[in-house]
Structure formats: C-alpha cells, structure tokens
C-alpha cells in the first residue's frame, strides 16, 4: 500500500490524516460519556422515585451523611478537574515536566477523595447503616430507611468505581507522558482522559447536593 510519506507513527493505517483520527477519537469519547450519563441516569430516576414515595424518610436519613466531609470532597474533586485541564494545556504548550506534575496532582487529589470516602463508609458500616438486609441502624424515622442507604451506597459506590478507573487511566497517562509518547501535536489520549475525568467530577456535583444537602 502506498500511503503518503508524511504519516507520523501515531497515525493508524486506516485513517487518512491526523485530523480525521483525532476527531474520530473525540466523537467516540463523547458518545461513550453519553452512555455513562445514561448509566447513572437510571440511578437518578430510582432516586427521584423513592424520594417522592418517602420524602420524610429521605429527609431524616440524609441528616446522617456528613456534609463537611462531602463538601471537602467536592472541593477536592473540582480542584482535580482543574489540575487535569491544566495538564492538557501544558502538553499543548509542550511542557512535559509541568504536565507530569499536574497529572500527579490530579492522581493525588483523586486518592484524597477516596480516602475521605473510606472514612465516611467505615463510619456508616460501624453504625450499621448498610444497604438492604444488612441494615441494622435504628435511628432514622420513617418507612424502610435502608432504601436511602441502598441508593446512597449504589450511587456513590458506582461513582467510586469510576474514580478508581479514572486513577488507573491517569496513571497510564503519566507513564505514557514520561515515555515521550505525547507532544504538542499529539495528545489525544490526554484530552480523552480529561473529558472522562470531568464527567466523573460532574456526576459527583449532582450526587453531592442530592444526597447530602437536600436528602
């Protein structure tokens, strides 16, 4: 096959040029993010339905969530989104060391988020505020308070899994960056990671008020 001679190494054989490859990747990522939103969408619907059926129980139960820790986590996650965005910006400018530093910051902030989440979870486990049949806590007034905690754990748990996946991908990006795989011309994987990470952040921004603030 005679491809034109100026094909960079990162251009896959079936694309005709760099723009086509980058645009395809971005479109694919946006579509993927759409599926993620729909995945969580199902849970948001479940949340709304059970909340409308048991408004008082939801209100009483939500008081047992720690607003301070939740707020700190919100700030942590938003900051990590900023460092992620800055990391991409640095790569656009070709500043590899700065990119690495910012990616590391994002990774560390993500870990801080999970550590705080761990403390929140273990406190609830200790009190018996567990999902479903393991629920033993007696302090919440209203019908079936275990449902609130079921929804809380499923939503934040699924979100937590997404944070973990994000951390794995960021780690991979750190490796690729330090191996000089990216440049100011080619940094699509970094951009996609950024898109994904912003989505994880965005979902938390919805989860936090729904669960912690208004119950």
């Amino acid at each position: 096959m005679d491809h034109s001679q100026n094909r960079p190494a990162y251009l896959q054989h079936h694309f005709s040029d760099v723009t086509q490859q980058a645009e395809s990747a971005k479109l694919g990522m946006w579509v993927f993010l759409l599926t993620e939103i729909l995945l969580f969408g199902g849970l948001f619907v479940a949340y709304s339905i059970f909340r409308s059926w048991n408004p008082e129980m939801f209100y009483n139960a939500h008081k047992y969530l720690d607003v301070t820790l939740g707020s700190i986590n919100t700030v942590v996650l938003i900051t990590s989104s900023v460092t992620m965005a800055l990391a991409i910006r640095s790569m656009q400018l070709g500043q590899k060391q700065k990119t690495l530093a910012l990616l590391w910051s994002t990774l560390i902030l993500a870990s801080v988020f999970l550590v705080i989440k761990y403390f929140e979870y273990s406190h609830k486990f200790h009190l018996g505020q567990l999902p479903g049949k393991y629920y033993t806590f007696t302090g919440v007034e209203g019908n079936n308070p275990h449902i609130f905690f079921s929804i809380y754990f499923v939503m934040t748990g699924l979100h937590g899994i997404h944070v973990l996946v994000g951390m794995a991908v960021i780690t991979w990006m750190i490796i690729k960056t330090s191996r000089n795989k990216f440049s100011s011309e080619y940094y699509t994987p970094l951009e996609l990671t950024g898109l994904y990470w912003h989505l994880v952040d965005l979902i938390w921004i919805y989860l936090f008020p729904l669960l912690y603030l208004i119950g």
Partner: protein, 532 residues
C-alpha cells in the same frame, strides 16, 4: 479477478485470527459466535416443542421446561439476534460499503468480540451451574427469590450489553468519520442508515439495561430493597426499567434487518430504491418512538389508565414508519427486473412474515384487545413473526447475499432454495397456530396445558421440526461451499454498493486503491453493474 493476498489467507495461523484487528475477520469471529448461539438456542426451542407435543410429560417436567424457555429466550436475544446483523454482518460489510479501510476503532472492535465471548462463557457457566428459570425478562420478585444461577446469567447479560454498546459506538463514529470522499450522507447505502439508527439505540438504551441488571444483582446479593415489595421496593419499577431498554432493543434487532432488506430488494429488482430518504428517516422515526412506548408491555400491570392510554397511542405511531418502509419496498419492485435468487427469496419471505408480524402488533397495541391477548401465545407468535420472520429471515438473506463476498465462493443454489422453502413453511406451521391458541386463551410459559389445545400444539411442534431440517441443510451447504463452492468474481449479483467493487474475498486492507464514490448506491437507472 484474483487477489494474491486476500484477508482470509494472510496473515496465517490461528493466533493471527485471535489477535486480528481486521474488521472482516472480526466479523467472521462474530459469525462463528452467533452460529453457536443460534444452534444452542434452536436446540432449546426444539426441546420445548418436543415437550409440548401433548399435555402430558413427553420429554421434560416443569423445572427443566422453565429453564429451557428461559435459556432459549436469553441465548437467542442476547447472544444471537442482537449481535447477529450488526456485529457479524455489519462488521464485515460496513467499512467495505463506506469505502473505508477499517472501522474507526479496530482494537475496541476486537475487545467487543472478546467481551461478547466472555458474556457467552458466563451464560454457559450459568446454564451448567444451577441454570435459570426466570424467563429472559427476569421479572422481580420472582427473580430475586428463585434458586439457580440468576446472578451469573444477569451478569452475563450485563457484560453482553457492553459489547453491544461498544459496537454501536464504533459504527457510529465510523459512519461519521470514515466515509469515502464523495460519499455524502444521502449517498450512503440504506443498510448504513439502518445501522446508524441502531447504533443510536444501542448507545442510549443499553446503559439503562446495564444499571437495571446491576440493581437486580445487588437486590439478590444484598437485598437492597429497590424492587422487593417485602422491603419497601416496587417490582413494577423493575418492569419499567427493564422495558425502557428492552423495547428499544427489539428495534436494535429489527432495524438492521430492514436495512438488509432495502439492499436486497433494490439489488435483485435491479432498480433504484424508491423513497430513499423516507426509508432512511423512517429508521430514525422508529428509533425515536421506540424510547416512548415501553409501557405497552404493562397494560395489565396495574399502571394508571392514563399511562396506558399514552403508551397505546405512541405505540401506534411506530406502525406508520414501518408501513412506509414496506410500501417503498413494493414500489421499488414495481417495473424492476426481478431475479429470484436465494437472497431475494429470503427478502420476499421477510415481506410476507413481517407483514403478519407488524399487523398482529395492532391487536397488541390496542388497549381493549391487548388485555385479552397479553401474556398468551398470541404475543409469542407476534414476537416470533417480527423477530424470526423479520430479523432472522433478513439475517439469512444478508448472509446468502454477502457470503460470496466473504469467501469468494458460491453455495449450492438448489439446496439453498429448498431450505428457504422449508424454513418458510415450517415457520408458518409452527407460529401461525400460536396466534390461534393465544387468542383462544393459551397463556405463555406453560409446560402443560388444557386438553383443547392438544391438536394445535402438536401441529406447531411438527412445524418446528420442518424448520430444523431446513437449517440443518443450510449449515451443510454453507460449510461445504467454503471449501468446494464455485469461485465467484467481485460482483456476482450485479450490485452498485461499494463492497462489490473490491475482489471476493477482499484484500487485507479492503481495497487496492483509495476509494472515491463515482455513483450512488442504487443508480440502476444510470449505471449497468459490471458482473466481475
């Protein structure tokens, strides 16, 4: 035209197939997967019909029967019919039709296949470790209480959902970004439009199934109480969630079939497709409405009358774009030059059966009659007329149409025609009787039944055997043709879509040169197709 390096020959070795990024090989890998699933699901169906020969215990008792119908449904839907046309045939022909060298994300494509295989293995593990007797619909609270491998089977469906999402995503991006120069949106083959509409449903609906099945698993493992009435949950909520996916899912199954039929009817009538835009847009009409009709599965569930009314009305709207397609196909045949080669016979079979399937849907969309017919054999028959009479007929039509492109060899036309006939007759004998039984009041999912249905059930069972013979013949002559079939050139049917412009089988990178569109996909009024 002979090609020195077809994708079948190069690279060599089993390993080269298992790590291939070539969409054509991945298409064949899918074809193998879905063939296994089809054989398995078909075997389950035969066992069901065997048991139903008489009201007595002919073959298996209630426990085994309940597992068999669950497995028949789950295997056929999740492992055969959803990936059937898009992932197997679509993978092979989509880039070829676009004049592209591959799909946008070849590695994701292979990953999808492996996810599919993992899902299939999980389903098999579920079958052999306690099995499942919930029905493919997994209705709560039955599914949270019954014993067996429900968690494994549910997780299998969950995993398979990801395979489907990734395939849809891949195709959508491919269609957007990898069309050959000159191939504008309205120069796309209609099969591509259908795959595009399908991809949208796969992307929008499947994640909701994912979360629903995940909640079902958590319900079983942790008793989270979302769907369990004993814990303050609501089993009907599960039905809403489930059908929000599973209704659009039937369009994931039928839309690609309609796309295949558009190709077949135009090619074998050698006539410009009538109402190109109407056919293309009606796919989107169907895709859009499909998200708004899930409640028609629940007219007897105790949902409010207002909800039932709205869902009934929206359901009827689906009839209009479907009808438009049928009329356009007929108009395409008008004044054509119709050749009755095997793929066209499947397409005509489709027209016959799908018309019955669609029209009987009217009885089920109508509130008053659905109350009587819901959950009876009438629904079973309707579903099979649409899914088998529609999708499976189109799948086999497409398979016979593209078979020479895949292998560069032709099957035996005589046996192919015999088997279309057997499948067509067998199908009608099997399922038309079920319309009658259902309207008379025979509920579905019964392992034994009242005496008055004995004759009709016996008739239906005989039909299934006729079908089985037809499929057995197909398996034999298709496999035979791979090795011994007559060699064919690039364009044996005289089609104008781009996949016929490369050799059969195509070279590794699809085309010997960069493709540029020179004529529309159906310009039979301007271009006489070259036979080779």
């Amino acid at each position: 035209m002979t090609s020195s390096n077809s994708f079948l020959q190069e690279p060599k070795g089993l390993k080269s197939w298992l790590v291939t990024l070539d969409h054509k090989r991945i298409g064949i890998l899918y074809l193998i997967g879905i063939s296994v699933a089809f054989a398995l699901g078909g075997a389950f169906a035969l066992m069901l019909r065997l048991e139903l020969l008489s009201p007595a215990k002919d073959f298996v008792g209630p426990d085994a029967y309940n597992r068999l119908f669950t497995l028949h449904g789950a295997v056929m839907i999740f492992l055969f019919i959803i990936p059937g046309i898009p992932a197997a045939l679509g993978n092979f022909v989509l880039p070829l039709m676009l004049g592209a060298k591959d799909v946008a994300f070849p590695r994701l494509n292979l990953t999808s296949w492996y996810i599919y295989i993992v899902g299939m293995i999980m389903a098999l593990v579920a079958i052999f470790t306690g099995s499942v007797d919930t029905g493919w619909t997994f209705y709560t609270p039955y599914s949270t209480q019954t014993s067996g491998a429900v968690v494994m089977m549910t997780m299998a469906a969950f995993v398979l959902g990801f395979s489907s999402i990734f395939t849809g995503l891949n195709f959508l991006v491919t269609i957007h970004k990898l069309r050959a120069p000159g191939m504008t949106w309205f120069k796309l083959p209609l099969f591509i439009w259908a795959i595009y509409a399908t991809a949208i449903i796969q992307i929008l609906a499947t994640p909701v199934l994912g979360i629903t099945l995940l909640l079902l698993v958590l319900e079983r493992v942790l008793a989270i109480g979302i769907f369990d009435p004993a814990m303050g949950g609501d089993p009907v909520l599960f039905q809403h969630f489930f059908w929000f996916y599973s209704h659009p899912a039937v369009y994931i199954m039928i839309l690609p079939a309609m796309g295949v039929i558009s190709e077949l009817i135009s090619t074998f009538s050698r006539k410009k497709i009538f109402g190109y835009k109407a056919i293309a847009f009606s796919s989107f009409g169907i895709a859009f409405i499909s998200f708004l009709v899930w409640g028609h599965h629940m007219f007897t569930s105790g949902q409010s009358e207002l909800a039932s009314m709205i869902f009934s009305f929206l359901t009827f709207l689906v009839a209009i774009p479907s009808g438009i397609k049928v009329f356009n196909w007929l108009a395409t045949m008008y004044k054509g030059s119709i050749s009755l080669e095997t793929p066209m016979l499947w397409a005509l079979g489709f027209l016959f059966l799908f018309s019955i399937g669609g029209l009987t849907g009217m009885f089920l969309g109508t509130l008053a009659t659905d109350i009587h017919l819901h959950d009876t054999y009438f629904v079973v028959a309707h579903f099979h007329y649409v899914m088998f009479g529609g999708t499976v007929m189109a799948f086999f039509g497409g398979l016979h149409y593209w078979w020479p492109k895949i292998w560069g060899r032709m099957y035996n036309e005589f046996w192919a025609k015999i088997s279309v006939l057997l499948v067509f007759v067998g199908f009608n004998v099997t399922f038309f009787t079920q319309f009658i039984m259902g309207a008379k009041g025979m509920p579905r999912r019964y392992w034994t039944y009242l005496d008055q249905y004995t004759r009709l059930h016996g008739f239906s069972s005989v039909g299934s055997l006729i079908m089985a013979v037809g499929f057995a013949i197909i398996a034999v002559y298709l496999l035979h043709s791979i090795f011994k079939g007559r060699k064919v050139g690039a364009n044996p049917w005289g089609s104008l879509t781009m996949e016929w412009e490369t050799s059969s089988p195509p070279p590794v990178h699809n085309f010997e040169k960069d493709m540029v569109l020179t004529h529309g996909p159906y310009d039979y009024d301007k271009v006489i197709p070259r036979d080779n």
